[in-house]
Amino acid sequence: MTEAGGSGDAREDLELIEAWRAGDERAASALVGRHAPAVARFVASCGERREVDELVQDTFVRAFGAIESFRADSSLRTWLFTIARRLMLDRRRAEMRRRDRVEVSEADAVTQFDALDAVVADETRRQLRRAVEDLSPKQREVFTLRVTEGLTYKEIADVVGTTEGAARVHYHNAVQAIKEFLDD
């Protein structure tokens, strides 16, 4: 089971979707194997620290539940990113409402990701991650989709709901901000 390159092989994705709809469960596993790692990277890079697995799973459950609405004018991976992004936004809104009611405890602040960070000795890597984390949410989304996932500006615009031109500006601003962060 291999991860699809770039935006994924669109034709193969469509064939797998048809096979799944015809009852082939292996086609579902193949689709998940092709795209789940990329969705997980995107989710983690956008700042989701906890329950990345759960969010990725929710993304696929939501996508396969509404596969009838998938239009082949965008790639399946772009569509999955769009769904994952909406789920992240929903979670953040829910979390903000919860924070309004309950003060965050110290234990909540210690996350799996932080624990992983502590194990990772590579200071350069941590610096690079921090540089990305320091970006605005929109810059981080655009930068991650462009550099980590290799999407075009058009695909990024579809995912984050903006224009190609705006996506390009966000990307270049992000690169500039990262350079400045690392130069300090």
Binding site: S29, V52, G150, D183
Partner: protein
């Protein structure tokens, strides 16, 4: 850090990183990166950032197991749709026929008489032809009303109409098989 002044190549750096450029574009970008220190540094930075991003493990089997079952249309549902389509066809078709019949004007008695007279006149010609050839004439082909109430002028007009009808060429070619003669014999 100085920036490259060529936005086209700066834009292409992530595509170069992901191998998404075609051969010609990749060759141009690589040639540019060789000569441009700023793009070379930026490409290296992008590669490092990509490698530094978290790579969370995913449980493919668990995700696949959690997926909903595909919504397949059952045979009964398909049959139901076919029956519904047939009912709609019958209702719409029936309504169309009823509407057509209601809008079609009824043939008045004069027109019917015209048809009857025309038929009788044609039959009369055939009868005359039959008597000269010694063959019995067919039964009268009267359809509808009689023509005893027609005036002489109307009868003459009818005869003229019949002649006009005969002058109209047939829309379809004659289906009769021509006689073919082969050699000395005939078929």
């Amino acid at each position: 850090m100085t920036e490259c002044g060529n936005p086209e190549f700066r834009d292409a750096l992530p595509d170069l990183l992901h191998g998404r450029l075609d051969d010609a574009a990749r060759a141009r970008a690589e040639a540019h990166v060789r000569d441009c220190g700023a793009c070379r540094r930026e490409l290296a930075l992008l590669g490092s950032l990509r490698a530094a991003m978290p790579q969370p493990a995913v449980n493919v089997a668990a995700i696949a197991a959690a997926l909903p079952a595909p919504r397949r249309r059952s045979a009964w549902t398909s049959h139901l749709w076919q029956m519904a389509a047939a009912v709609v066809f019958l209702v719409v078709g029936g309504s169309g026929v009823v509407t057509y019949l209601r809008r079609t004007p009824r043939i008045d008695s004069t027109a019917m008489a015209t048809v009857a007279a025309t038929t009788r006149v044609a039959a009369g010609h055939e009868s005359a032809a039959a008597s000269t050839s010694g063959q019995p004439a067919d039964v009268e082909l009267a359809v509808g009303y009689g023509y005893t109430d027609l005036t002489e002028a109307q009868l003459e007009s009818l005869l003229k109409d019949v002649q006009d009808i005969k002058a109209v060429p047939m829309a379809e070619p004659d289906q009769s098989t021509p006689d073919v003669t082969i050699g000395n014999g005939g078929v």
